[in-house]
């Protein structure tokens, strides 16, 4: 019955069914009746974890090293125990940020870093490609083994299969077609691939059913239940060893595998794809948390029985344990079961092929090709329009490229040792993402530099301790590399780094790679300063645990016009979807969609998220940045970066600051109030004083006027006296008004100042000349004494003369007539010119020396000022105002002996 064409038809029929189911899934989705909006489908799709490596390899592994296959499935169970903290959190973060892949997730977390996304993609491709090759190989092997029926011949004894007779080649092409059809339907990679997910769920059912069928057949068909099977196995020493003890790797490997698989369940790109990207509802995680482990239990229950059965069936060990699932049925002429087992293996392989290829091609396109292309000038020049077709082309090419590459890899490496351990090597590669991924969602302090450092170091160690030695064992490197270390350096032996001997290679590699990865991540993070955007994203990702569903922050503070945004959207989403997106946004938010209108920050953020679903977070940010001017992160957003605790600390700190600021402000206000009150008092005083100063001459004028008018018969001499009083007091009033106006203009800054370089000697001479008549009238002698070579000063000549005349006339006024002497001198020093006006008059009392420069504060000299010309009380105030303006200082000193010296300085 099992002729080649039967197997071929069965394979084609199965794959055809897969296409039909996927097509149906997409059709239902288009009708709005989603099949995958269902926790059972979700849990089944997660079972893509079980590949052909599980299907065939677990039994093989059990038959050679006992229970060692089990931790690979116990680990994921442990991770799902923590579903609220890990998986659901990742799902929520991804939904909000329209994450398209694990590379996008890590890049997005660390400040939407293009380099990090690219790095993760490269590691993923190198790490996963061999794993994909392994699936193709399993398909090829199983077909080759089955087609020999009824003979049981191992492929290694059959020679090489030509390319066009190789099932794996056709399977690769068909899977490429499937992935292209159902994996790139939407330009938005964060949209769900409904048909693909339904097909994967179906495959999970098929492979489980097939495996259970074989298990039941072995346990209850060939033997009389578990007891009988284990009793017969127990009678054979090496089988009993397998069923009762840990594997050859011992406890270390047991623990290593557990840790590795815990990382794998969240870090493998295909697991991230089905569990995070394809999740349609975070609530499904809750149910999948126990459904998926249940699936794992079911698919593992019969692994050991089949292995024991196989070992009992083929005691001479000429059959690979990896083929027991097929060959046990074949050996007992159960053709139908053998075909079913083959289909189960095919489903396990194709499920992985599809999801891994889609995940890798999305990463390849979004995190490697698009960022590079968008930076190339010729690309920007050539592709200015709609890029959706181009993006789909890139993604489809990437799918084909990945599968062909994987196939080539498989053909080249063939039976080599490298392929056998490749599953775990892939796990170890994916595990390198764990520190950056988990650190990223639990530790705010993780930075881009830290993630880069950890990833690079961890991957290099992984390469050195697992990949290179496996190359050596395959003969591509001298075997001495393993035995003696590179260049015979003992402590660099790749399987015994720094003398760490006695553990299995996997544990050894995991230890060292995680040591440098985690260490690099932590130290790199501690020693680097994250950018504002990094801090913001860190806060967003970490925060998800405490405040699920909190609004994502609006990162954009810059401005862009709606038209510009729409143009960017249209390039990557197409015109129709871009417009639909904007209209949809406008429906829920009050926003003006006029092309020239300013796009509000929420709209810019919305546009960025739409783009992120298509080209990944990093490129989306770069694209939006091309049309947005301004800061990426606002200060208030930065406040949200800080986690709960720090937020409280920060808040109370801020409160403290605020209250201190408030106190300061209060004090300032109080001071200002005091100052205002003081000014008010001064203003009152000033007005009163000005009133007084006006009333005094007015009193004389009125009194004299009334006397003159009431006493017409006044003698001429007396009459003249009163008339002169009226004239003198009127002049005094005029002078007072002039000076008041002068002063107020000066204080208000309304006065014109003609600042010019002046020769101070010339100015003094001018002032002395102007004052001479007054001095002569008072019988006071004026002397001038100027130092040689006085430097020039910059001042207003007229105002400077005003100061000098004022001081000289004051001096003259206070001198005794006849003996009075006033000496005017000038000297240079200390970068200033000091001008002094000294008199031998009554002097100024010590307490008055500051006061007399205030307005209306004339000195209260000991002697009465009767018979002296009255001042207005403003002269010195004006002098001070002018000298201040020149940048100098004015003061009065007592003179030795008798009199006083008024001095002022002028800067040179």
């Amino acid at each position: 019955m099992l002729q080649g064409w039967v197997i071929f038809i069965a394979s084609v029929a199965y794959l055809g069914l897969l296409f039909a189911i996927a097509f149906w899934g997409d059709k239902r989705a288009d009708q709005g009746r989603s099949v995958i909006n269902n926790p059972y489908i979700y849990a089944l799709s997660m079972a893509v974890f079980c590949t052909s490596w599980t299907f065939y390899g677990s039994v093989g592994r059990a038959a050679t090293s006992g229970l060692d296959f089990l931790p690979i499935y116990l680990g994921p169970t442990l991770v799902l125990v923590l579903w609220p903290y890990v998986l659901e959190k990742m799902v929520r973060i991804s939904a909000e940020n329209r994450i398209t892949s694990i590379a996008d997730f890590i890049a997005s977390r660390y400040g939407k870093s293009l380099y990090l996304g690219g790095l993760v993609t490269v590691i993923a491709i190198f790490g996963i490609l061999p794993y994909i090759a392994l699936q193709l190989k399993a398909v090829s092997t199983s077909f080759t083994v089955l087609i020999q029926y009824p003979e049981i011949v191992m492929p290694r004894n059959l020679g090489r299969v030509p390319l066009f007779q190789d099932t794996a080649f056709f399977v690769a092409l068909i899977m490429a077609l499937f992935s292209i059809l159902f994996g790139t339907r939407h330009i938005d990679a964060s949209e769900h691939h409904e048909g693909m997910v339904v097909a994967i769920a179906f495959e999970s059912v098929v492979k489980l059913a097939a495996f259970l069928a074989v298990g039941l057949y072995v346990t209850f068909g060939l033997y009389d239940g578990f007891q009988d099977l284990f009793a017969q196995g127990g009678a054979v020493p090496h089988i009993s060893q397998l069923t009762h003890h840990f594997g050859t790797g011992g406890y270390a490997q047991w623990s290593t595998l557990m840790v590795l698989s815990m990382f794998a369940i969240i870090c493998l790109p295909r697991q991230f794809q089905v569990a995070v990207v394809e999740n349609v509802n975070p609530a499904h995680v809750r149910k999948a948390a126990w459904l998926f482990p249940l699936y794992l239990i079911l698919i593992n229950v019969f692994v050991l029985p089949i292995a024991v059965g196989g070992l009992l069936q083929f005691p001479d060990r000429n059959v690979d344990a990896d083929t027991f699932v097929l060959t046990v049925a074949m050996a007992n002429a159960s053709e139908g079961l053998a075909l079913f087992a083959y289909i189960g293996g095919l489903s396990a392989a194709t499920g992985m092929l599809i999801v891994a290829t889609i995940a890798l091609s999305t990463m390849f396109c979004n995190d490697l090709v698009v960022p590079v292309l968008l930076r190339l000038r010729w690309f920007q020049a050539r592709f200015t329009g709609d890029l959706t077709a181009f993006l789909l082309f890139v993604r489809r090419s990437a799918i084909l490229f990945v599968l062909i590459l994987a196939y080539t890899y498989m053909r080249l490496i063939g039976e080599s040792y490298a392929l056998v351990t490749i599953g775990l090597v892939s796990f170890a590669a994916a595990a390198q993402f764990a520190p950056a991924l988990l650190g990223g969602i639990f530790w705010k302090g993780g930075t881009k530099a830290g993630a880069m450092t950890g990833l690079i170091l961890g991957t290099l160690v992984w390469l050195y301790t697992l990949v290179l030695p496996s190359f050596a064992r395959s003969g591509w490197l001298p075997i001495e590399f393993i035995d003696q270390g590179p260049f015979a350096i003992e402590f660099l032996k790749p399987y015994a780094l720094f003398g760490m001997d006695g553990v299995d290679h996997l544990s050894h590699s995991l230890f060292w790679s995680m040591l440098v990865n985690i260490g690099g991540f932590i130290w790199g993070s501690l020693l680097s300063r994250p950018s504002e955007l990094e801090q913001l994203q860190a806060g967003e990702f970490v925060r998800k645990l405490d405040t699920p569903g909190a609004e994502p922050v609006t990162t954009w503070r810059g401005s862009a016009s709606v038209g510009e945004l729409r143009e960017v959207l249209a390039r990557f989403l197409g015109d129709g979807r871009a417009d639909a997106a904007l209209v949809d946004f406008a429906r829920r938010n009050p926003v003006d969609l006029h092309p020239l209108a300013e796009a509000p920050p929420p709209l810019v953020a919305f546009a960025e998220r739409q783009l992120a679903g298509v080209i990944g977070a990093a490129s989306a940010q770069a694209m939006v940045a091309t049309v947005t001017k301004g800061e990426v992160v606002s200060t208030e957003d930065l406040m949200r970066i800080i986690d709960e605790t720090t937020q409280v600390i920060e808040y109370s700190h801020e409160l403290e600051e605020k209250s201190r600021a408030l106190e300061e402000t209060t004090a300032e206000l109080r001071a200002a109030n005091e100052r205002l009150k003081e000014l008010d008092r001064m203003k009152d005083n000033f007005i009163t004083t000005v009133g007084h100063e006006f009333r005094t001459p007015l009193t004389s004028i009125r009194a004299a006027g009334e006397i003159l008018s009431d006493n017409p018969a006044l003698p001429d001499a007396e009459r003249d006296r009163f008339y002169s009083v009226v004239v003198a007091e009127t002049q005094r009033l005029t002078r007072l008004i002039d000076q008041l106006l002068d002063l107020s203009k000066m204080e208000a800054g309304d006065l014109e100042w003609n600042m010019a370089p002046l020769d101070i000697g010339g100015v003094i001479d001018g002032a002395v000349a102007a004052s001479s008549p007054l001095a002569q009238a008072a019988g006071v002698r004026l002397d001038t004494e100027l130092s040689e070579g006085l430097p020039g000063v910059v001042a207003d000549r007229d105002r400077l003369i005003q100061v000098l005349v004022n001081l000289i006339s004051n001096a003259v006024k206070f001198c005794d007539p006849a003996v009075g002497r006033v000496r005017i001198s000038a000297e240079a020093g200390d970068g200033v010119v000091t001008v002094s006006v000294a008199d031998n008059g009554s002097g100024v009392a010590a307490i008055d020396r500051d006061r007399i420069f205030e307005r209306f504060q004339q000195g209260s000299s000991g002697e009465s000022l009767i018979n002296k010309p009255k001042g207005t009380g403003l002269g010195l105030a004006i002098c001070r105002e002018i000298v201040d303006r020149f940048g100098g200082r004015i003061w009065v000193e007592a003179r030795e002996g008798r009199g006083s010296v008024f001095r002022f300085t002028l800067p040179v």
């Binding site: 442990l78 125990v81 949209e191 406890y251 809750r286």
Partner: protein, 101 residues
């Protein structure tokens, strides 16, 4: 067109009560203790105790033990997620779950 997820009111944070403490609270505490328990039971040194030639009900003790613990853990996940974090109203599916029309 899937709407902006930011605009969707979160009605079912992981099936827990809407308050943030609900999930990270009781169910969360149970989850963490179950994780520690499972890790303890499935890793050395505890797991080494069941190694040996002994059989129980005709089955190797280690085989029975591992699957028993595994089944117990899954059962406890079921209890925790379905009892302490009760299912949300199934009609409240976030809008962004809707496929692209």
């Amino acid at each position: 067109m899937a709407p902006d997820p930011a605009q969707i009111p979160d009605k079912s944070p992981g099936g827990a009560p809407p308050d943030a403490t609900g999930r990270a609270g009781r169910a969360g505490a149970f989850s963490i203790s179950l994780f520690l328990f499972a890790a303890l039971m499935l890793l050395p040194p505890i797991v080494t105790l069941v190694e040996g030639e002994a059989n129980l009900f005709g089955l190797p003790v280690i085989y029975l033990y591992l699957f028993a613990i595994w089944i117990a853990v899954v059962a406890l996940i079921y209890l925790i997620s379905e009892r302490f974090a009760p299912a949300p109203d199934p009609t409240l599916v976030p809008e962004d779950a809707a496929p692209d029309a």
